[in-house]
Amino acid sequence: MNGVHDMGGFQGFGPVEPEADEPVFHAEWERRVFALTLAMSPPGGWTLDTSRYMRESLPPAQYLSSTYYEIWLAALERLIVERGLASPQEIEAGRSQEPAKPVKRRLKAEDVAVTLGRGGPALREAGTKARFAEGEAVRARNLNPTGHTRLPRYVRGREGTIVAVHGCHVFPDTNAHGLGEQPHWLYGVEFTARELWGPEARAGDTLRVDLWEPYLDPV
């Protein structure tokens, strides 16, 4: 989806404002949203890709006027409702009004360390040969899917060079929508800053971005 979350290249957001001695969280509710989001993933059964799509598909004005953990909260609520884990009324009330939905998995305190340490690798066994090799010239396709994608707008149509072959990775464009992992080869692709931003960009500056094979055409 071409959304405001696809921020690369916008110029109107003002200066970056680093905070000295920034705490990990700025309020107790941020801690809880963070933890709830991680803890609800096993019972909810959604993927990271789906979570990302829920966040980026919030109404654009809401997305831009929310803080980071407000966005997480809104997306978590949407996921909970969408998966039938609770109703909007229950979320408003903060009280259960219907039986809980049976869930297969639940994160226990004693499993937190092992679960985090294992993570969720995205690398899958390759069923095909990689189409591109290091050093090859490619062009990012001009795709404009209405669903989730990890092909930023600012690289579409631009020519770059394969600089890494990362193996076959879960494909977010399908995985986010429950259409399966459909692993595809993932490549590190280098673009010159001038190719991306025109002649005003500094010669020698480059950008590298990871792109799946369906995002790329040979040149």
Binding site: R52, L76, G119, H169
Partner: protein
């Protein structure tokens, strides 16, 4: 939070609307049996006190003192980082990228907030801000200037946009004046920003001024 949640109705009024909403949500999800309150506390404690940039700093310091380790880190970052026991969520596929006198690396996630949690913890607010996400790719020098960092003319910038599950750890250059320092002492020179690329490693002098070493 567990027992707080039980009587959230009486102290609701003191909370901000979003805090009240989160408390109600937690209360609901606990009541439904989906989440274990102790697991929430454990998750928070993990990222608030145990996993943070001190992890990455130890990795970088070892790479500075141990050429064989540096070689492993640059060719198979995941395995090298696992030497310290760091692994997992948001760091499943690690790549280390090294600054050189010619090239400075800068990491961003334009689409959301991808960041190498096992070595850096969860990202700071600026990393997740529209200002950083939008401008790091089109105006990296302007962004670095806002961090007080001005690179020599001749240095090129290589920006890494974390669109997939690959996570990038910048290995900053070892600062001048750090010759002969121990691995532990060197780790104190390695800031979070230097491992994202919005800063350089501190000189021993800077680290002293910043109160990072005594």
């Amino acid at each position: 939070m567990n027992d707080e949640a039980d009587h959230h109705h009486h102290d609701h009024a003191e909370l901000s609307p979003v805090a009240a909403r989160v408390r109600a949500l937690e209360s609901l999800l606990v009541e439904k049996g989906y989440v274990d309150p102790a697991a929430l506390d454990e998750l928070i404690d993990t990222y608030e006190t145990r996993i943070g940039p001190q992890n990455g700093a130890r990795v970088v310091a070892r790479a500075w003192v141990d050429p064989a380790y540096r070689e492993r880190l640059m060719t198979n970052a995941g395995a090298a980082i696992a030497d310290f026991g760091y692994s997992g969520r948001q760091g499943e596929h690690m790549v280390a990228v090294e600054n050189t006198p010619d090239t400075h690396n800068l990491v961003v996630c334009t689409l959301c907030s991808c960041y190498p949690w096992p070595v850096l913890g969860v990202p700071p607010v600026w990393y997740k801000s529209p200002a950083y996400r939008s401008r790091a790719v089109i105006d990296p020098r302007g962004v670095l200037a806002e961090f007080g960092l001005s690179l020599p003319e001749a240095v090129s910038i290589r920006v890494w946009d974390s669109t997939a599950e690959m996570r990038y750890l910048v290995v900053p250059m070892r600062p001048e004046g750090s010759e002969g320092m121990s691995e532990d002492a060197l780790a104190a020179l390695v800031t979070r920003d230097s491992m994202v690329g919005t800063g350089l490693a501190l000189t021993p002098e800077e680290a002293r001024k910043a109160g990072r070493v005594t």
